[in-house]
């Protein structure tokens, strides 16, 4: 399996609510009231990435393992306890609603895709972005997942491989990347290998994938990363903004399926 064509990263935008208490200060009171928290995270990350960009994006690809999970929970809870689910919760529970809202907010009328491959979602989104036509660029790729209290309650009862991977918590975050095939002032490039089945030994499979990129690539150790769904996106963004030159293979591993991927970041 070859890597996708490298895409230039024009801009990045990041939101990590746990480290930024007033992260949603710029969102209007109406949107704060109406929009699910995960939409707000994605919205702020995309707004930050688009700030100062002099070319309007033409398409959007979102990457999310579980979408607006809390809206799904709320809808079902109201059905089971009150006999009637809220249409607003239902609309928000649909995995691609967030991507539709972002397109609406930023008038992005081109292709609008949502890839849902666990921790491999960003890698899958990069594969999808690589399949767009030249007219569809720049494209916005936004990776986002949320932590909800219910998951914290359930975590002790998950399978050992999930529990071990998630020991660092279901930290929520949103990361947006504005990508283009060409650029003169890009922060770096990104491409992806996979998602592929991980087999018996996912870590070894990741090493195999990294080896296909060549000897100049520094592969991050899977055991040193958390299995938070947004971990790969955070790592990609950190590498791009740190500015230390080189090539890095960011590992991705979905413990529920065993599937793996790597994201090749060239700074």
């Amino acid at each position: 399996m070859n890597a996708t064509t490298p895409l230039h990263v024009l801009r990045t935008g990041v939101v990590v609510p746990s480290t930024e208490p007033d992260w949603n200060a710029g969102i209007s009171p109406g949107d704060k009231r109406r929009s699910p928290r995960i939409w707000q995270m994605a919205s702020v990350a995309v707004a930050r990435a688009l700030d100062g960009l002099n070319t309007a994006p033409r398409s959007l690809v979102s990457a999310t393992a579980l979408g607006a999970l809390d809206e799904t929970r709320l809808f079902l809870e109201k059905v089971f306890t009150e006999g009637l689910g809220s249409p607003r919760n239902f609309i928000a529970s649909v995995h691609n609603s967030m991507a539709g809202k972002l397109a609406l907010d930023h008038n992005i009328q081109g292709p609008n895709l949502t890839l849902c491959d666990g921790q491999n979602s960003l890698a899958a989104a990069l594969v999808a972005a690589d399949l767009l036509t030249p007219e569809d660029f720049p494209t916005v790729v936004v990776a986002v997942d949320e932590s909800i209290p219910l998951l914290e309650d359930l975590l002790p009862y998950f399978a050992p491989q999930c529990r071990a991977g998630l020991r660092d918590g279901w930290e929520d975050a949103a990361v947006a990347l504005v990508l283009s095939p060409q650029a003169s002032d890009a922060q770096g490039t990104v491409s992806a290998v996979g998602p592929v089945p991980g087999g018996e030994d996912p870590a070894a499979r990741i090493e195999q994938l990294a080896a296909t990129l060549g000897s100049d690539v520094q592969a991050m150790d899977l055991s040193e990363t958390s299995s938070s769904f947004v971990q790969p996106a955070m790592s990609v963004c950190q590498l791009l903004t740190a500015g230390d030159g080189g090539r890095f293979a960011v590992p991705c591993h979905a413990p529920t399926t065993g599937a793996v991927a790597i994201i090749d970041v060239c700074v």
């Binding site: 393992a65 809808f75 059905v79 609406l104 609008n112 890839l115 594969v127 009862y157 979905a254």
Partner: protein, 393 residues
């Protein structure tokens, strides 16, 4: 970009399993809707739905853990049968489209969890299939794929799976693609659409003056796409081609379509452009045709904007129900079969024309069909169209 060959197709739907069973039903515009029984949706009056006539797991040698996956595997086995297990070193990607995946088990767990928190000990087993990617990963593992993608864009997602699959082959990323759309009926979707008051009390009537909403359904549609080299290596028959894919966003409203069908028209135009054909070359349009007042009107306006003189069109939803994540691929499979048999599916449920739409769907005409457009539009103003062709343009 080049047309990509279709070398295998599979279907599971309200008419049963198999492309032939599905096509016979839609060709006649048969009413495939029955009162919901496969899901306890806790509704006084179960809505009419396109339900599978038997549990898809009964069709498998060994059971799989959820209904969406069972639908996928049954349809995939049919689609892959022409390859006869002789794929050799040809690389395979799985691109799967689903909205609920294993949600039915999550719903059952959560229903019990609310009443009794001690069931939390079953969380690992019951929630394991909640993530959409679990469906794709299982298919990838089962069929030895070297790449897997899960796309989830509500009702349009099945056509995006076909489009992404086409482009993977166009770009030489793989030799074969198993493009899958699958969804089982679930409480979340049944109650969700009910909460939006979008469900037709008497079943959907696409493009009819009395249309009052959708009817949900379940099933799977699968296509095996192949590069020219792969098709020649395998020596398999080419059933048709995926010639073009177009995608767009309405940027208008979260659930209502653009009133003039702007995004839908853009998706169709993009698909035609990629296929390299003119609108006048299209012989049939397999419409999205959900049966809601707004959707059908917007789609009709989009058809008029793109085609001027609109070719024969029909909706399969009265026969199949709206199978959500499955609908794009399932109806595309049946549209290819329509080309092969030279017969346009009838538009079940249509009786009285709507003067606002000013178009009447097809009634099952026969004739040569060279190019077909298949549409699918979803929540969030998400639009997808593909061009399917009998031969390479």
């Amino acid at each position: 970009m080049s047309p990509v060959r279709i070398v295998g197709m599979g279907a599971v739907c309200s008419a049963g399993h198999g492309v032939d069973a599905g096509f016979r039903a839609v060709a006649e515009g048969r009413d495939g809707l029955t009162a919901l029984s496969v899901v306890d949706a806790e509704l006084k009056t179960p809505p009419l739905c396109g339900q599978l006539p038997r549990d898809p797991n009964e069709l498998l040698e060994s059971r799989v853990p959820n209904r969406s996956l069972a639908c996928s595997v049954v349809a995939a086995e049919e689609a892959l049968a022409p390859l006869n297990n002789r794929r050799g070193d040809l690389s395979l990607a799985v691109v799967a489209a689903t909205t609920v995946a294993g949600m039915t088990r999550s719903e059952a767990f959560y229903r019990n969890y609310i009443k009794d928190h001690t069931v939390v000990t079953h969380a690992s087993r019951e929630l394991r299939y909640h993530e959409p990617t679990t469906l794709t990963a299982e298919l990838a593992r089962r069929y030895g794929a070297s790449l897997s993608l899960t796309v989830s864009t509500a009702c349009s997602t099945g056509l995006h799976a076909l489009g992404l699959g086409k482009r993977l082959i166009d770009k030489g990323r793989c030799d074969l693609v198993l493009a899958v759309g699958a969804d089982a009926l679930s409480l979340l979707t049944v109650r969700g659409f009910a909460s939006l008051t979008l469900v037709a009390p008497d079943g959907c009537r696409p493009f009819d003056k009395r249309r009052a909403g959708i009817s949900l359904g379940e099933g799977a549609g699968v296509m095996v796409l192949a590069s020219e080299r792969a098709a020649e290596t395998l020596g398999v028959e080419t059933l048709g081609y995926v010639s073009g894919w177009g995608a767009s966003a309405d940027c208008h409203h979260m659930t209502a379509p653009h009133p003039e069908g702007r995004g839908a028209a853009a998706a169709m135009s993009a698909a035609l452009a990629e296929a390299g054909i003119e609108p006048a070359q299209v012989d049939y349009i397999a419409a999205h045709g959900t049966g809601t007042p707004d959707n059908d009107l917007a789609e009709a306006k989009a058809l008029q904007a793109v085609f001027g003189t609109v070719p024969p069109f029909s909706s399969m939803k009265r026969t199949l129900g709206h199978t959500l994540g499955a609908s794009g691929t399932l109806e595309a499979v049946l549209a290819v079969q329509a080309m092969r048999e030279g017969r346009i599916p009838a538009s079940g449920g249509f009786e009285i024309p709507d003067e606002n739409i000013a178009l009447e769907p097809s009634g099952g005409e026969t004739g040569e069909l060279t190019h077909v457009v298949k549409n699918a539009f979803g929540f969030g103003g998400n639009n997808a169209s593909v061009v399917l062709s009998r031969g390479a343009a």
